[in-house]
């Protein structure tokens, strides 16, 4: 697919990395020559220096032949303008990043009127992910599938837990509801486990279940499921605003520490129920004064990754609070992983995942949409939710019949039939109209039929 990306920032360069890896022809446009140079040095893509909203620059980038235009510059208005111009000149689909709360309330309208394929709001998605984790504080990550009907939870098996030493088959027997362990990471290795897989303490496992059954699963095996009651947020960014809004909506008390007086006043108007503190969130005394030691959760959302990391480490040291670290820019993933920060959110991957899901679904000629896509364990495992729109060789047959031909290291995690989540066994089958979630180490699946050998 021919893709034009405007804006070589965080998200832009992550997109280049991942889309080039998936084999698309990419042209990247940015006004800063240095950024373009850095990207074209490292990736096999074409770089153009210029304003991505200008007609002549877009022509130079070959907008007439392009299939997709992704605008991810700093400014929302510029992104929308890029897409508008691109749609007029070429016959491509367009994706824009829109972050400002003013516009994001009107996303539907913008998307329809401007004919955009997708409007993405990384700040909002970050906030949603953080909110999901805070609702299930034992989890490291909570990923939503099937429009929130099903969730995938990632957690660490603590020492002395009842499931240590159990095989997955034994776990299923003990459980009154259906849930499925999809992937386990042990000492840096990732496994797609079978029923005879025996869990050890220290394993990081992900399991999937319908939203209702998640709590049962957690309760059965002695994980705490109580949601947090209050949150301390550092930094009054857009993501903080979205997160506060989500949390207040579900009855969590929110306190935000922000340095800028004017922004504090703005936030207090936007979020009348939240407590807004005007001060330096990196000041130890202030944090103590605002009760970090007793806070049930602590989310630093400043724009500087290093500050976020230091703040979470500090909070882990002096309190029992559930902490979430947002990392925007940093690349040293192995170092970050070794810090044991707990839950880490990477906004740029969230954005990239949404766009890659769209791109993969479009580049496959057959009409089966990808609903959701998550990368797990440093991109070694993918969880993809496909929509089944038409009959094919895998529909209408009990899964047991296809057992031999399905790829190794691949699981069918659930089948969503009209909002009803089925954890499939051998006699279940995939039908047209379902959505099916696949967990696999074969990254890069584009359609559901590719699960067969």
């Amino acid at each position: 697919m021919k893709i034009i990306i405007v804006g070589a920032g965080n998200v832009g360069s992550t997109l280049v990395e991942q889309l080039a890896h998936e084999g698309h022809d990419i042209t990247i446009i940015d006004i800063v020559a240095r950024k373009i140079q850095a990207i074209t040095d490292n990736y096999d893509v074409m770089g153009i220096v210029g304003n991505g909203a200008s007609y002549s620059v877009l022509m130079e980038a070959g907008i007439e032949q392009a299939d997709l235009m992704i605008a991810v510059t700093e400014a929302d208005e510029l992104n929308l303008l890029c897409c508008t111009v691109a749609k007029r000149v070429g016959r491509c689909a367009a994706i824009a990043r829109v972050r400002m709360p003013d516009y994001s309330k009107e996303v539907r309208y913008l998307q329809e009127q401007l004919g955009l394929a997708l409007v993405i709001n990384p700040e909002m998605e970050t906030a949603k992910e953080a909110a999901r984790i805070l609702a299930m504080p034992t989890a490291l990550e909570v990923m939503a599938f099937a429009h929130g009907q099903a969730e995938m939870i990632k957690l660490v098996v603590p020492e002395g837990n009842t499931i240590v030493g159990m095989t997955l088959a034994e776990m299923t027997k003990k459980l009154s509801v259906s849930a499925l362990v999809c992937a386990v990471e042990r000492k840096g290795e990732v496994y797609i486990p079978s029923g005879s897989f025996r869990l050890e303490s220290g394993d990081t496992l992900t399991f999937v279940a319908s939203r209702r059954n998640i709590r049962t699963f957690m309760d059965t095996f002695g994980f705490k499921t109580k949601r947090v009651r209050n949150t301390l947020i550092v930094g009054g960014s857009k993501a903080s605003y979205y997160l506060a809004q989500e949390l207040l909506h579900s009855g969590v008390a929110v306190k935000i520490i922000e340095q800028n007086q004017a922004r504090c006043e703005e936030l207090s108007v936007l979020l009348p129920k939240a407590v807004i503190i005007n001060g330096d969130g990196t000041d130890e005394a202030l944090l103590k004064e605002e009760g970090i030691e007793r806070a049930e959760s602590f989310v630093p959302l400043t724009g500087i990754d290093e500050v976020n990391i230091i703040l979470t480490l500090y909070a882990k040291k002096i309190s029992e609070a559930k902490v979430i670290t947002k990392i925007n820019r940093m690349n040293f993933k192995s170092v970050v992983n070794s810090l044991e920060l707990g839950s880490v959110i990477y906004p740029r991957y969230i954005t990239a995942e949404a766009i890659i899901a769209y791109v993969r679904a479009r580049s496959e000629a057959r009409n089966n949409n990808i609903e959701t896509l998550y990368h797990l364990f440093d991109h070694r495992v993918e969880a993809i939710e496909f929509e089944v729109n038409e009959p094919s060789e895998i529909t209408g047959k009990p899964l047991v019949e296809m057992r031999q031909s399905i790829k190794k290291e691949l699981l069918i995690a659930f089948i969503n039939r009209n909002g009803h989540i089925i954890i499939p066994s051998g006699h279940d089958s995939i039908e047209v109209g379902d959505t099916v979630m696949i967990v696999t180490k074969h990254t890069g699946l584009q359609s559901l039929t590719e699960i067969l050998n």
């Binding site: 080039a20 990419i26 074209t40 040095d41 490292n42 096999d44 893509v45 074409m46 220096v49």
Partner: protein
């Protein structure tokens, strides 16, 4: 330093060379020549060596600019060596260094020869000489990029090291597709010339050789008098194609995609054609008394096109022409043709940007506080590009001066020494006086030939990739990353 990847690339180059060497073998079978056996031996040897070197794909395919440069430079050395080997062992060229000179001159598209009499050579050897031009013209590594999949952005580093020009751009997002498009244009234009030559009554063998030598802007002829004995029609066809192969290939890409305004709006192409035209007119006026109008124009156009595109064919002995014309031709050698073509020389784009820097400097004397960004092809030129062009000029001058000094020990006149180096470092071919179009390079000493071989390869690879090999840091790094180096450093730690 990624040694495994470098040896993988060299191995792939060897494999390709081995396959290409089957070309002269086929010719030898067709013309029933015994030399074919020698070509076959070398071909098989190259293929086996290449196959062994590429047997295991390197685990880590990532490499950076330094690896790209080293791989390119080493590939070209290996390429020249094995290209010259069959000529030596078959005694077509009895002296080893002469065979190497001929092969390097072929691959670098110089076209300077050590042979006085090419007509007694086997047809297989003649074909191989022309083939080296054709492969060297667009670059064997560019060919490699078109056929083998290399992952990531690394492959741009090879393209950058091998392609001529101050800044290498891509036509389409992926290097592989860019390389393919370039080769398709290249093959298409070569075929077109072949057809034109066949229409002019040239024999198939000579047409193939001449069109390959023109396409690579090489200049090896199949007759002793180069192109002098062909009909005016053929000389005109070759003139036009020599000039066309000196044009930046991006222009052809635009023409293929019907973006004519972009193609003809290219500053470099316009400047190139302008220089060609002015030079032809000047030479024509200068030699007018010697020939009839039609002949004069033809000779002027042919020689200017040949020198400016750094091909090096000739229809007359321009060494005997008036002094002003000789000076013009020597200056044209230095200018060369466009970046992104198959030609050598300093490249029109560098010259134009160089002139603009001089103008900017003069303005700065007039208005010391003025700020002016140099523009080229309608875009501001980054300071880095200007800097690298300046450094290129300096390096060029240093290398040039050193080479002239070393050559001068032969005891020839300055004019011979100067033009011999100019003709090789710019990949032109013939110079003046003792290296003029009517004579050859055979009479130089072994040392001089080595220097000239070095100049040819340095000139083709735009100096730095080859000079990189002389940086001790490169060898230290390569040593450290080698198995032995890793073993030793481990021992040290213990």
């Amino acid at each position: 330093m990624n040694n495994a990847m470098i040896s993988f690339i060299i191995g792939s180059v060897l494999k390709i060379e081995g396959i290409l060497l089957l070309g002269p073998c086929a010719a030898a079978v067709w013309y029933r020549e015994q030399v074919g056996w020698y070509y076959l031996c070398v071909a098989l040897f190259c293929i086996v060596c290449g196959w062994l070197m590429t047997f295991r794909k390197p685990a880590n395919p990532v490499f950076y600019l330094k690896e790209g440069c080293v791989a390119t430079a080493l590939s070209w050395l290996v390429l020249s060596f094995f290209g010259g080997l069959p000529m030596y062992i078959s005694h077509q060229i009895p002296s080893f260094i002469d065979a190497m000179f001929e092969s390097a001159s072929g691959f670098t598209t110089t076209g300077a020869t050590i042979l006085g009499d090419v007509e007694h050579l086997a047809r297989a050897t003649l074909l191989w000489r022309s083939m080296t031009h054709w492969i060297g013209g667009m670059g064997i590594l560019v060919f490699l990029l078109a056929i083998i999949p290399l992952s990531g952005g690394s492959n741009m580093n090879i393209m950058r090291a091998e392609s001529p020009g101050p800044s290498v751009g891509k036509l389409v997002p992926r290097v592989r597709h860019t390389a393919r498009i370039l080769y398709l244009i290249y093959i298409g234009m070569t075929a077109l010339e072949l057809i034109f030559l066949l229409c002019g009554g040239m024999s198939l063998f000579e047409s193939v050789n001449t069109s390959m030598a023109t396409a690579g802007t090489g200049g090896f002829g199949v007759r002793n008098d180069s192109l002098a004995s062909y009909s005016p029609y053929i000389q005109w066809v070759v003139t036009v194609f020599m000039i066309l192969f000196g044009v930046n290939f991006n222009a052809y890409y635009f023409i293929v995609f019907r973006q004519f305004r972009k193609a003809f709006g290219m500053e470099e192409v316009r400047n190139y054609l302008l220089i060609v035209l002015v030079a032809i007119l000047f030479v024509f006026c200068n030699i007018y008394p010697l020939y009839s109008a039609a002949d004069g124009l033809r000779h002027a156009a042919f020689q200017v096109g040949s020198i400016m595109s750094t091909t090096g064919f000739s229809t007359v002995d321009f060494n005997l022409w008036p002094q002003a014309t000789r000076a013009i031709l020597v200056l044209l050698m230095f200018i060369g043709a466009c970046a992104g073509s198959t030609a050598g020389g300093l490249k029109v784009s560098r010259i134009v940007i160089g002139f603009k820097t001089v103008k900017k400097e003069l303005t700065a004397y007039l208005h010391p506080k003025s700020i002016k960004k140099i523009q080229y092809e309608g875009k501001p030129v980054e300071h880095d590009v200007v800097r690298s062009i300046n450094v290129y000029f300096i390096t060029f001058v240093l290398l040039f001066a050193g080479s002239v000094l070393l050559i001068s020990f032969n005891g020839y006149g300055l004019e011979t020494n100067f033009t011999a180096v100019a003709a090789t470092i710019n990949n032109v071919g013939p110079g003046l006086e003792k290296v003029g179009p009517a004579v050859n390079f055979g009479h130089f000493s072994v040392l001089s030939k080595c220097v000239l071989i070095f100049d040819m390869i340095a000139g083709r690879l735009e100096l730095f990739p080859l000079l990189m090999l002389f940086h001790p840091g490169i060898w230290k790094e390569a040593g450290r990353s080698s198995r032995l180096g890793r073993y030793l450093s481990k021992k040290n730690l213990q």
